[in-house]
């Protein structure tokens, strides 16, 4: 069991968390304006259309910004630095996540770094985290 806050899906977000449990990153796309968007909502925040669908996406992303948190929140019961990042998915939307599989060292974390999604268990859910993509 991993330590840390455990997300609790709501009806609007359930498909997202079912996706991560199945090893897929699923986000929503508007059929009317073809906009991919995040976080989950049952209508398009760009054009207000109800014609939206869930789609598995590539899981490819780029590092948009990050911090290295040297004082992790007490729930994590660790003093290991955490890389907390904002990543831009290849399909457009941005997400908050953790970068894993790389040292918490700014020299290893240039903005624009190519990333690939991975899934880590947290309670009954699986969190989408990102690791440097293999070149």
């Amino acid at each position: 069991m991993s330590i840390g806050p455990i997300p609790e899906p709501t009806p609007e977000t359930l498909a997202f968390w079912q996706g991560t449990a199945a090893g897929e990153l699923r986000i929503q796309r508007c059929r009317a304006c073809e906009n991919f968007y995040f976080y989950p909502r049952p209508f398009c925040p760009k054009c207000n259309s109800d014609e939206v669908e869930w789609q598995p996406v590539s899981g490819k992303a780029q590092l948009a910004s990050y911090i290295i948190n040297y004082r992790p929140y007490e729930d994590f019961q660790t003093e290991e630095p955490q890389i907390i990042a904002l990543v831009t998915l290849a399909e457009g939307p941005r997400m908050c996540t953790n970068i894993v599989g790389v040292a918490p060292d700014p020299d290893q974390l240039p903005l624009g770094l190519a990333l690939q999604v991975a899934f880590e268990p947290r309670g009954e859910q699986f969190l989408p985290v990102f690791k440097p993509a293999r070149s």
Binding site: I6, S65, I68, R71, P72, N98
Partner: protein
């Protein structure tokens, strides 16, 4: 009653005070900090709780503050949009007074942010957007969330961690003579960079202090202000604006420029009918060192990429052409969790000629607030002269 404009100097702030003590005040609860500041602000105005018919506060229930002071309001505002709520309250109160919904509005803030006396329990909501899409990754505390876009901002401009440190050094200069300021030692850029690591690229002194404190304001029409003993110290609202975006930092429209700063400040300047060159003094809500950089650019005082140099070159320091955060700011003076009230209080002191480090001869002050973690913004333009 004829309708008047809330902007353009028709509404006056006639009472302003912080709580009698700020910093570490474990013998006063949150609500007592509200009440202490409220009574001092009313005394400053030459009014009593019995004169108040409008009341506003954030986070704490308006009802609780009103009951504590024995006020029976006919107008209430509990707008809670983060630490800039109090700027929004000034704007809302001005509209209420201008339309005859209230005659004397009291705005209060109190927060036992350091000692946590009489404060509500903090709890995360694992079903909210933040509880599902930020907090599981450790983006929980302000220093691990508000800070997230900073590297993107710096990189877009070819700026660096040193530019964050320059902001700290420039603002500390104002705090050194100020006995109410929490951090008063002179620091160098290298010392700031070598300080305890909090969240790269932020070191300790690039993050705000955490304090107990309160503050309150009293607003009336400019006409009513003329009859008060505080009339010679009245400060007038020239213009105001407010804006919001998302409760998820990841969903900012642009990580490198905050749209809510741009929209709120543009409305403040448009409603005030003044330009940037008319502003003598500014308060930029600085929970962290990157915020004054965003604000300086997004509110239009400097162009893209010029904010770092503006701080480093001394333009915001004593004697500079735009004195900024003149009591030391949230990073050196005091920050209870919602700093907006403290920013307004320093503008009031400066415009009344009563600041610890007084900027000589000023007439106008611009206050830029931020709410939550890049959630919202509000702006005020104040003057000691009625247009």
């Amino acid at each position: 009653m004829a309708m008047m404009s809330p902007n353009g100097g028709h509404i006056a702030i006639v009472g302003a005070s912080e709580s009698s003590r700020i910093g570490v005040v474990p013998d006063m609860s949150m609500i007592q900090l509200h009440a202490d500041a409220a009574r001092l602000a009313l005394e400053d105005a030459g009014l009593t709780p019995a004169d108040v018919d409008g009341i506003a506060t954030a986070e704490t229930q308006v009802i609780e503050v009103a009951a504590m002071l024995g006020i029976r309001p006919r107008w209430m505002d509990g707008t809670t949009i983060g630490g800039c709520s109090f700027l929004a309250h000034v704007r809302h109160a001005a509209a209420a007074i201008a339309t005859g919904q209230a005659d004397v509005v009291l705005i209060t803030h109190g927060e036992s942010g350091r000692s946590w006396v009489g404060m509500p329990n903090y709890s995360m909501n694992p079903r909210g957007p933040d509880g599902q899409f930020e907090q599981p990754f450790g983006a929980i505390t302000p220093y691990s969330l508000f800070t997230l876009p900073a590297l993107a901002f710096l990189e877009a401009r070819g700026m660096s961690q040193r530019d964050l440190a320059e902001v700290v050094v420039a603002q500390r200069e104002w705090a050194i003579p100020n006995e109410r300021a929490q951090r008063r030692s002179a620091v160098t850029v290298d010392e700031v960079l070598a300080g305890p690591r909090v969240a790269y690229p932020f070191t300790r002194d690039m993050c705000c202090v955490v304090t107990d404190g309160g503050g309150a304001l009293v607003l009336v029409s400019a006409e009513r202000a003329r009859d008060l003993p505080s009339r010679d110290r009245a400060v007038y609202l020239l213009g105001s604006g407010e804006a919001c975006e998302s409760v998820l930092v990841s969903q900012m429209d642009d990580l490198t420029s905050f749209g809510s700063f741009r929209r709120a400040s543009a409305e403040a300047f448009a409603t005030a009918g003044v330009g940037h060159a008319d502003i003598d003094h500014a308060m930029f809500y600085d929970a962290f060192a990157h915020l004054p950089l965003y604000m300086l650019e997004d509110t239009g005082f400097v162009s893209f990429g010029e904010s770092g140099g503006f701080f480093a070159d001394g333009h915001t320091r004593p004697g500079g052409r735009l004195p900024v955060n003149t009591q030391g700011g949230g990073m050196s003076y005091s920050h209870s969790g919602m700093y907006g009230m403290f920013a307004i209080q320093e503008s009031m002191r400066q415009l009344r000629g009563e600041a610890v480090v007084q900027v000589p001869g000023i007439e106008t002050s611009f206050v830029q607030g931020v709410g939550g973690l890049f959630w919202s913004a509000a702006s005020l333009i104040l003057s000691n002269r009625q247009p």
